[in-house]
Amino acid sequence: MLAAAMPICLALIGARAVSAKQPASDTCVACHEQEEDEEIANAVPEWRKSVHFAAEVTCDGCHGGNPRAEDEDDAHAEIAGWVGTPGWKELPTFCGACHESIAHAFADGNLGAGFQGGGIPPTCVDCHMSTGHDTPHANAKEILLDPLPERLRGVPQLAQVRRDVLALVQREAGVSKRVADVSARALPPTGLARDMRTLHNDWAPHFHRFEPTAFAKVDVEARAALDTVEQRAAQLQREAYARARLGEAGIATLTAAFAVLAGLRSRRNP
């Protein structure tokens, strides 16, 4: 019975292995890629180059709807959670569905207050997207459009906060480099990369309030925390070096002991 079960089991495993390689179907991409309307059709290749694609955020992740539906109406049905394209004022909430802490900081801050007064203040896409879906990769230099669009240059808080943020990001990049070096060494997980992410997520929402004075305080705290991480990283670099040397010495000693024993043995049994 066992003998008969094994080939069946192997065949079934093989079938699963093949089926596991099939990509999940996504009708949003399949249909929108073939759209005649250029703006809609361009969304797909732009999204493919974006940070959201890299993070595996698919169309329905932001816009809702049913990415498995074959029918257009079913795909865009409200019952399937279809949100569609957000209006200008809805953008902070739309992006804030995922970037929650940033959306809260923005809404509470200087620029978000503009919405309350009925104005049209800059919002997420102004600084982070030149067109519809090409949200750049989340590295320090690319995450902000450079130069900022014309209509934003007159917003004084933006220019100053932007300078402060880029300076802090530059410091963060330096520490990240050292952390990456530690992570690449033969050590058990150190938690430093996670500390860096936590640290970034702690300070990043604050500058979205666009309050330079308040951000100055956050900046000082963030820099102090970065100093601590950098010191720990430097200590771990030394530790990794010492462990590697100890390992080499240990293996060399064991090899020498093995050679001595092998010599003694061959003397006894020539």
Binding site: L2, P188, L254
Partner: protein, 372 residues
């Protein structure tokens, strides 16, 4: 010329009279050592290293939910050479299980379970299976996210057993969920019950093996022992084996420490935060994949959605458990299922095919599980 009193010889004689140690070492030295003997010896060396490193870890480890993770991390980063001991224990566990698996495969291929070796096989396989239990119980001790959730996942399927499911889960966890009681149970099993059982089984194994070998030599089915066994040569060879094993573990510790620290092993246990994904250790991947595979396959069968949907669901839940739970019993029953006298692998095509297919299935499941 007066004879110089040989103190060493006198002490040896004194010991020999009272313990029979020399006779034992000579008997061991006289045993022809083949691949299985050396694999067994490696398993014993690996076990000894686990005992030594385990005892050293106990000096600093605190088996309480609020302190276990911090103490395990302190061993890794603060205690002098704590990293060496902890990583050697973790890497040594994987090595010990790999040796146990290799020994089982070799013994099965050579039919080292046939008369009069039935109990030698049973004893050896119980030892190998205890290794897996030790791995499971040791996994929870650092009280990391991985420890907590891997234990939760490993014990959850027990609830699916009809009638006794809830009792089994409570027994394994010491409560409804994984918690302090689970940690205490795992700790006692890992540091007291399992090592004591293993030491006793190693002793029984040696005794049974020696007895079976004597019978085989008498019957002429096994080559006789070397007439003049040389304990010193064997001692040198065993010492060389110890050195090789230590060098391999040291290389793993120094150059591949992350192997012993999968994802989520570096964060403290948080019952409110389920990490995703959680991958079991390589030696349990086949079992976790089987639990995923069988329900998928049954769901793909046309009859599983009709009137028999209830039965299909029931089979989906119980079949993986029956296979995983039944596998150790099948392994232990091998000597009583295959009773023919033939030992030569070339004349046992069915047995060899079964071994190859079983290994193939396990390897395929492990590979699928690793890429999940």
């Amino acid at each position: 010329m007066s004879a110089r009193p040989d103190v060493v010889a006198e002490v040896a004689n004194w010991l020999e009279t009272r313990t029979g140690l020399r006779t034992l070492t000579r008997a061991i030295a006289a045993t022809p050592a083949g691949r299985a003997w050396w694999l067994g010896a490696t398993a014993l060396i690996a076990f000894a290293l686990q005992v030594v490193t385990g005892m050293l870890l106990l000096v600093y480890y605190v088996p309480a939910p609020d302190r276990a993770f911090a103490s395990a991390q302190a061993i890794l980063w603060e205690v002098p050479f704590g990293w060496l001991v902890r990583l050697a224990h973790a890497q040594g566990a994987s090595a010990l299980l790999a040796i146990g698996i290799a020994h089982t495969v070799l013994a099965a291929a050579r039919a080292d379970y046939k008369q009069p070796r039935e109990l030698v096989w049973v004893c050896g396989r119980i030892l190998a299976l205890l290794g897996f239990v030790a791995a499971l119980t040791g996994y929870i001790l650092p009280w990391s996210q991985l420890s907590y959730w891997a234990t939760t996942i490993a014990t959850a399927p027990l609830a699916k057993f009809p009638l006794v499911g809830t009792t089994l889960v409570t027994l394994a966890r010491g409560g409804e969920t994984v918690g302090g009681a689970t940690l205490s149970r795992a700790f006692v099993a890992h540091v007291v019950a399992l090592p004591l059982a293993a030491i006793a089984l190693f002793a029984i194994y040696g005794r049974l093996l020696a007895r079976a070998r004597r019978i085989e030599v008498r019957r002429g089915t096994r080559a006789s022992a070397r007439i003049a066994g040389d304990p010193r040569s064997r001692a040198l060879e065993v010492s060389m084996l110890v050195i090789v094993y230590l060098a391999v573990v040291l290389a793993l510790v120094v150059y591949a420490p992350s192997l012993a620290f999968p994802l989520h092993a570096d964060r403290p246990a948080d019952p409110l935060d389920t990490p995703n994904p959680i991958h079991p250790e390589w030696y349990f991947l086949w079992a976790s994949e089987l639990q995923r595979l069988i329900p998928d396959l049954i769901a793909a069968l046309p009859w599983s959605h009709g009137r028999l949907a209830g039965a299909a669901g029931w089979i989906s839940e119980l079949l993986p458990l029956a296979i995983i739970g039944g596998a150790p019993f099948v392994l232990l029953a091998v000597p009583f299922l295959d009773r023919g006298p033939e030992r030569n692998p070339r004349r046992r095509p069915v047995s060899i095919a079964l071994i190859v297919l079983t290994l193939g299935a396990l390897a395929a499941l492990t590979s699928l599980g690793a890429h999940e």
